[in-house]
Symmetry: C2
Subunit: 233 residues, 2 copies
């Protein structure tokens, strides 16, 4: 798996970045299951680098988006799932150094390990090449994903959308009440009722957390409103 | 409160940064309670700028710190409380533009409003002056706080410290069990028992969340170990 010019050749080929300090990039591509220098600290730094570069790109690309919109868009791009997909597309798992335990259990395919290593690479590029070098790499890796982002509006959760709808209509805010809690502690199921006093409507939701039950109740109420009254919510 | 050369004069005096685009900094110092251009989007960007600059400084200043240590140190520096203190020391509340509602209720003293405005200023400086300009300002604002940081070890929570102690001693991991839950839903009090099988010791903790109760139980067990056995934990 590990070519003679690892990691410099791989980084140049995949990220178009010319490594100067091979030991730094070797650390970035080494999981903590290998004793000695690994990528944990670089991941801490790289996470912040990636967050800033994505934040800036979204700030510029979505001039009309609110802070909440920008946060939701960023979460989608830098989620563990998204980073793991980017890492997998690069074939990062094939050049990652893993301890024997992780190797046996297929750690090179584990999403969190791939996502962490991608962050660590961003950290290494930033440390060695500065913010502009990191920007070039991050921009190349994420531009297609940024272009494919949905409208910020569609990422809002149901409670937020319901609240904005009633505010726009000049109605009273929805109320949420826990109707009952079932099950043993830590296996609770919450049943929540969401009421729109102003419209005389209500819906129920359930979930393992109160928040989850509230979201389900709000989603059902939105659906009901959308179908029954032909309102756009 | 608002001098004729606001915001440029204030930013130059307090942050030693020479503003070029006064409108940008005017936005940074305007709370969302004022209609029109405000600091919400700049706060989103500035939060990421501050996070990266603090992360980098800690990465360099604490070469022996683990990723967990670095995260805990950063959390302490960029918490709302810490940012509000930095903002208050600058007198930021006196130059902040607030809507009349917030003015009446003393919003210029509210911690979250001060913290957000400080982040927005970092965002404005980064946008206009780049990362190095932002680094100079952030470094001046936070260097005393960074120098005064406690040893990373002391920031670990009780469960983490207890776990590391038993691992270092080659003992079995502590177990946590909820013994009972009292009170109505959402006003629960959890009672948790923490047991160290290997040492035949146990302690109880309570709290409004299971996690809080576990932390208290772990803290009590650590205390007991420290006093009874003269172990350093």
């Amino acid at each position: 798996m590990r070519a003679a010019d690892w990691p410099s050749g791989w980084v140049l080929e995949k990220l178009a970045y010319a490594v100067r300090d091979a030991a730094l990039f070797s650390s970035a591509l080494t999981h903590r299951s290998v004793s000695g220098s690994n990528n944990e600290r670089l991941e801490f730094l790289g996470d912040a680098v990636l967050n800033l570069l994505i934040a800036e790109q979204l700030y510029r690309d979505f001039p009309g988006a609110s802070e909440g919109d920008l946060s939701r868009l960023r979460s989608r791009l830098v989620s563990g799932e998204s980073l793991a997909q980017v890492a997998a597309a690069l074939g990062l798992g094939e050049v990652l150094q893993l301890g024997s335990g992780e190797l046996k259990t297929g750690g090179f395919r584990r999403k969190s390990i791939l996502a962490d290593a991608l962050e660590a690479l961003c950290g290494a590029i930033y440390l060695e090449g500065g913010l502009e070098a990191a920007r070039g790499v991050v921009s190349a890796l994420f531009s297609a994903r940024i272009a494919a982002l949905p409208a910020p509006e569609s990422l809002k959760d149901a409670k937020t959308r319901l609240q904005e709808y009633v505010q726009a209509q000049g109605l009273a805010l929805p109320t949420y009440a826990v109707e009952r809690v079932e099950g043993a502690p830590h296996e609770h199921t919450f049943w929540v009722r969401c009421e729109l006093g102003g419209l005389g409507r209500a819906a129920q939701g359930s979930g393992s957390t109160r928040r989850g039950a509230e979201q389900q109740a709000a989603a059902r109420l939105l659906e009901e409103l959308a179908t029954s009254a032909a309102v756009k919510v």
